[in-house]
């Protein structure tokens, strides 16, 4: 069985990013920066209708604009554009201005169709339908364990709540897009992507090209967060434009298009009931929920893969549970995977009702968690320790006061929440080239999303070869390299690290044979390499069992100050305690944890896509009204990484973002003694929760959907076995 070195020089220490200098000087060329000789611009025309039959698209005037080299339609037949922002046509031209002018001249003959963009409206039987042959909301998936009704009847305390989470946008700073160049039979695409191979295969099948004629490169990319796996319609269109013109075409989405068609986190509307015995042990749980993943949600997926489900019951060990979940279709762009898909929603609903129950039981929320976080699983076992470590570091017991007991106009509160995530490694191949001058090049068809994959590769090779990370050239993001999977699910570090381990050990073996040295590492390296000769040593390898694992637990605590007259929330502190296995690069791991917390802050307090029910458009396709957390919004963030090297490498990009919003929501409720049941928690909602807004009573804050399960008669549906809760 392979194993990681027990006394490493670099692994687990802080190593500066090997590509730092390129990134701080502007030398790093992202997909948006590829300017090959003769390049031209591409631009997409999108539907301005929320739902419309597209009869015809006239490109003739656009083609006549000086500088326009090509204009194409997405499809030639009549079709329905299901949402505001759906792609209709594209142009390529020698200047951005030519493309802008051309788009304005494209004539679209369309007929409006009634639309619905609000989930709350779409679930009603009399709502207009996204797909005429199906109701918008499908049959719920049902999971049941134990005797739920009996357990509720036996509960000493029962609480019920409505909780809802918003649509969150990925808003990677580099928008979706590519530069593509068709030369002869070969198509090369510089893609801003999390998966060069998935983009290659997607393009090959869409364009009916052999996979060996498509090369995808992603040297640097400006963020993905789950939204950049496939080529997307924009990838197919830019490829068609270069095929048509023979010129390199750069097509990056403008920010406003980023808010329409390239993914989001599904919403959730959660009706939860929980029963506990007098000792504070939860014995009964019921969740009925719906949410939307856009027009591909609901009973007709129309070729999309959207889903709005999430793990439930989350984390806690409850013997009698019933969960019913459904997706509802609305006329909006589809969701895509988004950093820990499903989990932040699950955490928000579950941890909210946990605190409601704790308050009813007059228990400290921490003690209530400890009493119920009792699953027999490794993440739960780790989390039970994390609760205590967090409490001690945060000063939970000293700071905790019952909800609403903080005095004065500005009230302080604290809150906590937990999370779990899978992660783990999978098949990745890589190769190592060692030259006679001792230089080393690693090649792996993975991607570096900013997580530091390139640096991770260099650290592992340096560790095994006895060199410095700076002496290793790590190359990735190219389908000419040995394949790796998409960078998602927090699997990249756990997939790539073992493969690099394997190639380096294989290489050492070969170098030993070539050089005749027993140990060619460290001081012997250059002498050994001189024996290689003209043909460099090229060694392959692959992911190995035993160097990585999956399944982590984490907890977070938050401290807020809430101004009860203005509703403004100041987030003072977030503590993140995260299980992470073997840390490869301490610096990068900490940065990931900071980043996860900060994204959770945005989810908690600021971010929300606003659909307008009157016009059907996204009202905030910008950073002016889609509010991302900024420098002044930053709390003090404290990170405690629970290192367990014997577990091997585990990714942490996703777990660290899961509990943040729920912890903040609980802190706000603790401060003001009233709960804002929907995210984001904005000043208007805080004031309403406090009963200070005349036309918005506190009990109206959750919305008008609380009886949906009765209206839809959900009790008729029986359990279907599916994946269940997260532990």
């Amino acid at each position: 069985m392979p194993s990681w070195p027990t006394e490493p020089v670099y692994i687990g220490k802080s190593t500066q990013r090997v590509d730092g200098p390129e990134k701080v000087t502007g030398e790093a060329r992202y997909s948006s920066d590829i300017h090959n000789e003769g390049w031209i611009y591409g631009m997409i025309l999108r539907s301005q209708w929320p739902n419309a039959k597209i009869h015809s698209i006239d490109l003739s005037a656009a083609r006549n604009v000086p500088g326009i080299k090509a204009a194409i339609k997405v499809r030639d037949d009549e079709f329905v554009a299901h949402y505001y922002g759906q792609e209709l046509a594209a142009v390529a031209g020698t200047s951005k201005q030519a493309c802008i002018d051309a788009l304005l001249l494209i004539k679209v003959d369309a007929t409006d169709i009634a639309f619905v963009v609000s989930e709350e409206t779409a679930i009603n039987p009399d709502s207009s339908r996204v797909f005429p042959d199906f109701p918008n909301i499908g049959e719920p998936k049902v999971r049941e364990n134990g005797e739920v009704d009996k357990a509720f009847a036996q509960s000493a305390v029962t609480v019920e709540g409505l909780y809802a989470t918003q649509i969150q946008m990925h808003h990677c700073l580099e928008t979706h897009g590519n530069t593509a160049h068709q030369q002869g039979d070969n198509l090369t695409v510089w893609a801003s992507t999390q998966g060069v191979f998935s983009v290659r295969d997607g393009l090959a099948s869409n364009l009916e090209l052999p996979q060996n004629k498509v090369r995808v490169i992603s040297d640097y990319m400006g963020g993905g967060f789950g939204s950049k796996f496939g080529p997307g319609v924009e990838g197919v269109l830019v490829s068609r434009l270069t095929q048509k013109t023979g010129l390199p075409v750069k097509l990056m989405l403008p920010r406003y298009d980023e808010a329409k068609a390239v993914g989001n986190r599904p919403s959730s509307f959660q009706k939860i009931r929980m029963g506990a015995d007098a000792d504070g042990k939860i014995i009964a749980f019921e969740l009925n929920s719906f949410g939307t993943s856009g027009f591909t949600s609901g009973p007709s997926t129309a070729g999309g893969g959207g889903r709005a489900g999430f793990p439930s019951p989350y984390l806690y060990n409850i013997p009698n549970t019933r969960v019913r979940q459904a997706g509802v279709a609305v006329n909006t762009g589809s969701s895509r995977a988004f950093r820990a898909p499903g989990h932040p929603q699950a955490s928000f609903g579950m941890e909210s009702i946990m605190d409601e129950m704790a308050a009813r039981l007059n228990m400290d929320p921490l003690d209530f968690r400890l009493k119920n976080d009792t699953h027999d699983s490794l993440p739960a076992e780790i989390r039970r320790k994390e609760w205590k470590i967090a409490a001690e570091s945060f000063g939970w017991k000293e700071k905790y006061n019952p909800p609403g007991s903080s005095k004065g106009t500005i009230k302080k509160g604290i809150g906590l929440a937990g999370g779990t995530w899978g992660g783990g490694g999978r098949g990745t191949q890589a190769e190592c080239q060692i030259n006679s001058d001792g230089s080393v090049e690693l090649r792996c068809g993975t991607q570096d999303l900013g997580t530091g994959t390139r640096t991770l590769m260099a650290i592992i090779a340096a560790e095994i070869f006895g060199l410095k990370p700076g002496q290793i050239t790590a190359r990735l993001g190219d389908t000419l390299f040995p394949p790796s999977g998409g960078s998602g699910g927090s699997t990249t570090a756990a997939s790539v690290s073992p493969a690099i381990y394997d190639i380096c050990h294989n290489a050492l073996k070969e170098l030993g044979e070539v050089s005749g040295m027993e140990d060619p590492t460290g001081n012997q390296w250059f002498a050994a390499c001189r024996k290689i000769g003209i043909q460099p040593l090229i060694v392959q390898g692959r992911w190995q069992e035993g160097l990585s694992s999956r399944g982590v637990g984490g907890v977070q605590m938050a401290e807020v100050e809430v101004d009860t007259e203005t509703g403004f929330i100041k987030l003072n502190k977030v503590l993140c305690v995260q299980d992470c296995g073997l840390v490869v690069n301490k610096l990068a791991t900490e940065s990931q944890a900071n980043g996860g917390v900060i994204m959770g802050v945005g989810y908690a307090l600021y971010e929300e896509r606003i659909m307008d029910s009157l016009s059907g458009v996204v009202l905030n396709p910008n950073f002016e009204n889609y509010k991302l957390p900024g420098a002044q919004d930053m709390p003090e963030i404290e990170i405690i990484l629970m290192e367990m090297p014997e577990r091997g490498v585990i990714g942490i990009g996703e777990p660290v973002t899961i509990p943040t919003a729920a912890a903040i929501a609980n802190a706000v409720a603790n401060a003001i003694g009233a709960r804002v049941p929907t995210l984001p928690i904005t000043p208007d909602k805080v004031l309403a929760a406090l009963g200070k807004v005349p036309n918005k009573p506190a009990d109206s804050l959750a919305g008008n959907w609380g009886d949906f399960d009765q209206k839809l008669n959900w009790s008729q549906y029986s359990p279907t076995q599916e994946e269940g809760g997260g532990h």
Partner: protein
């Protein structure tokens, strides 16, 4: 390294910046040195030119990173587009294109501005500094160096905007507090969530000590917990 009013990052003694020029016009207190009088007159002529340009492409001269660059652009081309797409200086990024994210931040006469909300034709006679103009002969400036040391970047797409902005901050305020740094950064967004470490880097570059907010607990600690 720099004069007080001059952009420290480039070297264009011949171009009197608009800011200085206007200062000269606006206040009698500024005594333009005799040697500059002639130059001033020429500048007045240039910027006072009430000729109508465009809408077709017109000659535009930009002073970027100390170099005079001549372009032919439509008046509706932004400074950001001119820099990125026409001069191929792709360090500064187009992220929001509406003056809300700071990824396009350049120094204009030493002062950070959003190049996406500025026309190229309206940026002549100003000293423009991009991230490419901050390091000389491969030598990183203090802010760039500190960004690497503090791991103040992840995907790196916002980084050039922050680096330019914070370089300008330290030029004007060599010993900022964390509050100063936060305020200076409030017009720049990062989606990966690197803010805490950006604050660290700015303070480190200024020689101000910061404390680490991170602990690592080993398996032993966990078992003992």
């Amino acid at each position: 390294m720099q004069g007080k009013n001059k952009s420290p990052h480039n070297n264009s003694p011949n171009s009197l910046s608009r800011r200085e020029f206007l200062k000269g016009v606006g206040t009698t207190a500024v005594a333009a040195a005799a040697s500059q009088a002639e130059q001033l007159a020429a500048q007045i002529k240039e910027v006072s030119d009430e000729k109508v340009h465009g809408p077709e492409a017109v000659p535009v001269t930009l002073h970027v990173n100390g170099e005079k660059r001549k372009l032919v652009l439509e008046p509706r081309v932004t400074l950001l587009e001119a820099i990125r797409e026409h001069l191929n200086l792709t360090g500064q990024k187009e992220v929001c294109d509406r003056g809300t994210c700071g990824a396009c931040t350049v120094m204009v006469d030493g002062v950070p501005q959003y190049s996406c909300m500025k026309l190229a034709v309206d940026s002549q006679n100003e000293d423009i500094t991009t991230v490419e103009g901050l390091s000389s002969n491969g030598q990183l400036n203090k802010v760039q160096q500190a960004f690497i040391e503090c791991d103040s970047l992840m995907c790196g797409y916002c980084t050039p905007g922050f680096v330019v902005n914070l370089t300008a901050l330290l030029d004007h305020n060599p010993k900022p507090s964390e509050a100063d740094v936060r305020e200076a950064c409030s017009g720049n967004l990062c989606r990966c969530g690197t803010y805490p470490r950006i604050f660290d880097a700015a303070l480190k570059a200024a020689g101000v000590k910061t404390k680490s907010r991170v602990q690592i607990l080993s398996a032993k600690d966990i078992i003992n917990a």
